[in-house]
Structure formats: C-alpha cells, structure tokens
Symmetry: C2
Subunit: 178 residues, 2 copies
Amino acid sequence: VTTFIGSNVGDWHVKELKPIRGESIPSVSRLQIEDHPTSVQLTGIWKLCGFVSNIRYANQSERKKILAIQEGLGRPQATCAALIPIRKNEAWWNLAQDERRAIFEEQSHHTAIGLQYLPAISRKLYHCRDLGEPFDFLTWFEYAPKDAAAFEELVIALRHTEEWKYVEREVDIRLIKV
Amino acid sequence: VTTFIGSNVGDWHVKELKPIRGESIPSVSRLQIEDHPTSVQLTGIWKLCGFVSNIRYANQSERKKILAIQEGLGRPQATCAALIPIRKNEAWWNLAQDERRAIFEEQSHHTAIGLQYLPAISRKLYHCRDLGEPFDFLTWFEYAPKDAAAFEELVIALRHTEEWKYVEREVDIRLIKV
C-alpha cells in the first residue's frame, strides 16, 4: 500500500489543487509519497492510500501495446506530476464486468486515448475503493514541462467520455518536483 | 476488511484442515470471523484477511442469474462451512482481463458450475492479493449437512478445470457451526 501525504513537507510542491466534481480536499503546499510508510512518517493534513493491482479492463492486444511503449516513473525530465483522486458512483460498481468494459473501452476508448500520449505521459493507477478510502482510485501522472499541453488534452478527453458520467467525485492536484 | 482467525476459540469448529496444493497452514481447533476486528481480538495461531469487492469476471447475464437464485450467509440450516484459501501463480496475474475471463468461464465454466449448486451452497469471495497476504483469495461456503455431497462435487469439478492449473497454493478447511 502506497500513501500520499499532503502537508507542508515532501518531494513535490503543490502548484494547484482544485475540485472537478464533488467535495474537494484541504489545500496543502507539499506532497510526500511513501511506499512503506511507518506511523512516524504518517502525519499530514490528509493521507490517501492505494495499492497497485492487476489489469482490470485492458485486453491482450491493448496490454501488449501499452507495455511496448510506456515508460516508468521517476524520469529526470518528468518534473511535472498530477495526482487525480476519483470516485465512481454506485451505478458503475453495480455493473457486471462486460458492461464496465464496454463503457470503459468500446464507448469511452480509455486505453486508446491513453496510448496516444505514451510514452510522454507516464501513468500509475492505485486502487483504494476496497480499502474503505474516500476515493476509488488515485491516478498518478508524470511528464516533462514540454508535454504539459498534451497532458491537458488527455485529461479533457477523458473527462468528456461516457465513462466519466459515472465519476461522482474528482480532485485535480498539480505538482512540481522540488 | 474481514479477518479469519484460527485458534482454539470461535464460532466454527474445525473438522478438517488439509493442504490441497503447496504449503499448508497450522492446524487449529476453532475459527473466528471478525468483520471489524480490534487489535484485542486479533490474537490467534493464524490470521487471514480479505475484502469483498466488485464482480471481476461475471457478465451481465451471469450476474443476473446469480442474483436471482443465490441465498445469503447465516441461514440457520447451513451449519457446515468451508474456508478455502487459494493463491494463483504469476502466469495467471500476468494475463490480460480477456485472457483471464476466457480461462475462467469459456474454458472452465466457473460461474456455470457454481450456478448448478445454487441456492444450496452459499458463497462469499474475499480478495487478499492486493493486501500482501499469503493467499490471493479466501473463498467461503455455507451449506446444510444434507448438501455436503453436492459441495464435494462442486469442489472436485472446480479443481479439474483449466483455471485450476494456475492455482499454486490451496488449503481446504472444513467447519461445523458450534
């Protein structure tokens, strides 16, 4: 489990924190990410936890394309980041797997859209619904300053999809590496 | 998160505990299930934790069939239970969603087999891979003594599927309500 800690200490400077849908979270000046947090390190204004899991929707062909082009986190030029916590509504979670997949990809082209921005935008998805957290997912993106406009495009494209009609809470946190 | 605590106290008497594949877990005489465990209650010979999550493979038609016939846990006549912790191998978890679904249902008929034993056998699935637990799933079944033979059939049928070739650790714990 990885913990994102918002306070006035940490490796990432918070440039902007704004609610997109539903309730926001308190403003903070810094973000710290702890992969194996000890209780001592866990003080902060807020803490959001999540785990990386297996792929939930991508099929074999999509998975191969992603693995072939994506780049990892921590690239030296990727000094911009975004942490976007998201919660989907009950209607989404009551759907069966094939219904969620159809909305995610056949209708919303979630993976196809993301693939257009690889390898510039690195991405990692943390799951938290099953931990009883206030959000279902913590989405994390890293990119170089020159790719900032491309990242805005990606975010806007996803927010206009059918899938996003099921998003009931979303906060957009933009960060700069200290 | 639900915790299954093996020790010499609890509402379920352990009739048998045996390894099916891979390493076993220590024998205990009783099992206690805690939905919201406090640290005080958490002593025991072993503890296995998991969470209930959204449906991962069933499609809309399968989900409807299950919801239409299944019965809940805690039926007075269901005095027999089984806790079967399972871990699948890396090959399984490296598959994409469509590949896992095809093995799970089109090749192994996991849901179709389970449906044949509804409503006699009640079932609940707890996920634990994402919590860093020693197993990926804790499967829990409840049934009346008169359905014990049907339950054996179900377990044997599942163990002969293509899906079960990916199971690398499995322990079978049979229980009687105290």
